[in-house]
Every structure is written in C-alpha cells, then in structure tokens.
Amino acid sequence: MLAASKLSCIRGTQTLFNDINLQLDAGQWLYLQGENGAGKTSLLRILAGLSLPTEGEVLWQNAPIAQQRSQYHQDLLYIGHHAGLKEDLTLTENLQALCRMDGLRISDAAIREALTRMGLAKRQHLPARVLSAGQKRRGLLARALLRPAKLWILDEPFNALDINAIADVQRLLKAHLASGGLLVLTSHQPPDLGIDAPGFILNLSVPR
C-alpha cells in the first residue's frame, strides 16, 4: 500500500537520511525512532506529501502520490506537531469545518460522540483558545474517530496527553491496525501496539 523508494532528505548542508526504502501493507505499523533532530518529522511530512524529498518518491497503491493527490488525501489522516485548531471556534465547530472541507457530512451527534470518547464532553462548546494543551491535542485526535482513513501518519501523538488519554489513543491505534489500517508514527514514549500487529521500527540517527 504505502511504499517509498530511495528517499533522501537534505536540509541546509545536512543529509538527514539517505536511501530509505519502505513497504507497508494493510494492518502494519511503522514506528520511527530517533533523537531530537534526527529527521522524524521531516520524513513524516514527506510521506504525507507536505514536503518533497530531495530524492526518491512516495507511492500509494503503487502510484506516486503527487499524481493522485485527491485519492491519497482521501485515504490519509495526518496529525502533526501543530495544534491545528482554530482558536476562536469550539471543538465541535473545528471538527465540523474540517470534515466538511474534506467533503464529509458528519452529524453533530457523531461529533459529540467522538468528543465524548476523548473525554471532552463538557468542553465541546468552549472556544479552543481556552482549552489546556492536552485538551487541544485530544480534540484534534478526535478526528481519527470521525474520518475513515486507511493510513494514519501521526507525529508524536502522545505529546501533552495525560496517562488516561495515552491509553485511549493506544486502544484507538490498535483498533485501527486490527481493522486493516496502516499506521506511521513517531513518539519519544514507545507505544504499545499489541503483539500480534506486525510492524517495523525505523531508527534514524542524528547527523553529526
């Protein structure tokens, strides 16, 4: 499904990584490891199509992603370092707007349920501005419950989350894998993705 061939990435004068080849199939995960500045975020953004690799290309279902943007974006859920919420809108409105721009029609009830599952039932009508760091992050992760997407690319999803929320998200990831989804993630807290889900660990090292 997701494949990458000969990816390399040069930033400034530094080669972050070179000649990375990947092949990820349904139900498999890829866990990126590496110190701060190793190039994990850079790789995830390349896989998501948000930035271009210096060399190599990313394939989705055997075709380069640049040639099938709409299809690829349909199948992709990317959650990055950013909070990614409009501070003036409530969580409900934020999610509503995102889904509608993705071409989905999601009922208010569905959104309410997703937020409830992320423990935000009481916060759904507050503007995102006043929420705590962790609540914002939870709100954003609620997208994963609303949008059917085969491939999840998550950049440090556990950041700012408390222990309960981390456990919730882990369950979510496992369920996604179990249902045949693909998962690419990075985190400094090693995730527990269940023993039976097959996957890979890719270790990036900091360029010296």
Partner: protein
C-alpha cells in the same frame, strides 16, 4: 455537487471565524471610513478640492482596507497549522481557496461598497457619481480580493509580513485602481464610464478564472 459543498464549507468556515470576533466585520469598514476622514484633515477642508479628489481617494482607501485584511487570509491558518489540513483535504485545493477568497470579499469588500455612498455624501459628490462609484467598487473589490490572494499566498513562507504582501500586490492593483477611479472621474467629466467598466469587467472575469488557480500554486510553493 460535492465540489460546491467544499466551496461552501470553506466559505462558511471563514465567515464563522469572522462572526466569532464580531468586530472584524466592522473594522475593514471603519478603516475605510477613517482613512477617508484623515484625508481632509491632512489636506485641508476646502470643499472643491475635496470633491475633486474624492473618488480617487476613496478608491485608494478601499484598496488599502482590502490589503490589510489580506495578510490574514492564509497567514492565520498557516500559523495554527490548519492550513496543512486544508492542503491535505481530498477536495480540490483550488475550490477551497476560492471559498476563502469569497469570504474575504464578503467581509472586506462588500461592506465598503455599501458604505461608499455615505462617504461620498461627506465629500459632497453628486448622487449619480455616487452610483457610478458604487458600481465601480462592486466590480473592483472582488478583483482586489482575487489578486491580493495570490500575493498573500506567495508571502506565506516568508512569515507573511503585512508590508511584503503590500509590496507584491500593489503593482497588480494599479490597473484596477486606474480603471475604477477613472470610471468615476470620467463620468463626472461627462465622458461616460462604459469603457472603464468593460475593462474592469474583463479584468474581473480574467482574475476569477485564473487567480484561484494561481493562488493554489503559490500556496503549494510556499508550503514547499
């Protein structure tokens, strides 16, 4: 039509955002009012002089008011990371961009058109000239929004300084300004404004066809 739905989704989102800060609806308008108020304070209150420069000055004020709103058009979404999500939407980016541009015009352009008569009265313009002025603004302000969006998208990566946007966009605005202000002035001079209007209209059609597309390209470049 799914494409239309995406267009309206983007439009509605931006309008909702504006509504949340109720002042923003009014401020483009008041900026327009204030710039036109400064004019007599700067150059003196002689009615004849003012009447003469009013159409041009109002056009320039409209242009500046639009310009100020522009730099928020994408920069805000860029800063909080929502632009990434918009770019990753399966719907055509061009359509979403068009929705955002429309919202910008509804908030920053349309109110100016509606307020123009009041300002026109302050400068003691004749009623029919005011009509022409409104019409020229009605065709011209969407043009300003469309062209400005390209500049706003281009300067994103450069951590969109308001001034840089202005710098890029101003040259594009010049034809609009010349035909827009020119329409009113040549009407007042008794020469008729239809020539100016057809040129403005042609520009608008051209811009409506190409600007969203160019803006999309600029966005992709800015985001790398």
């Amino acid at each position: 039509m799914p494409v239309l739905a995406a267009y309206f989704a983007a439009l509605q989102r931006d309008l909702l955002l504006v509504m949340r800060r109720k002042t923003e609806v009014l401020t483009a308008l008041f900026f327009f009012v204030i710039v036109t108020t400064l004019l007599p304070l700067g150059i003196g209150p002689e009615p004849d002089l003012l009447r003469k420069i009013a159409p041009g000055a109002m056009w320039i004020a409209a242009l500046l008011a639009t310009l100020l709103g522009l730099q928020r058009l994408f920069a805000a979404d860029h800063a909080d990371g929502t632009l990434e999500q918009i770019v990753l939407s399966p719907e055509p980016l061009c359509v979403l961009v068009a929705g955002k541009i429309t919202a910008h015009w509804l908030v920053c352009g349309l109110p100016l058109v509606l307020l123009a008569p009041v300002i026109g009265l302050q400068f003691d313009l004749p009623a029919d000239a005011i009509g022409i002025l409104m019409l020229s603004l009605l065709i011209g302000t969407p043009l300003l929004s469309l062209l400005g969006a390209i500049g706003a998208a281009l300067t994103l990566g450069a951590r969109g300084s308001a001034l840089l946007v202005s710098l890029l966009v101003m040259p594009l605005y010049i034809p609009t300004l010349i035909f827009g202000a020119g329409a009113v002035e040549s009407y007042i001079a008794g020469l008729g404004a239809s020539g100016h209007f057809s040129l403005l209209g042609a520009l608008l059609i051209l811009a409506a066809a190409f600007a969203p597309w160019a803006t999309t390209a600029a966005l992709r470049i800015s985001l790398e």
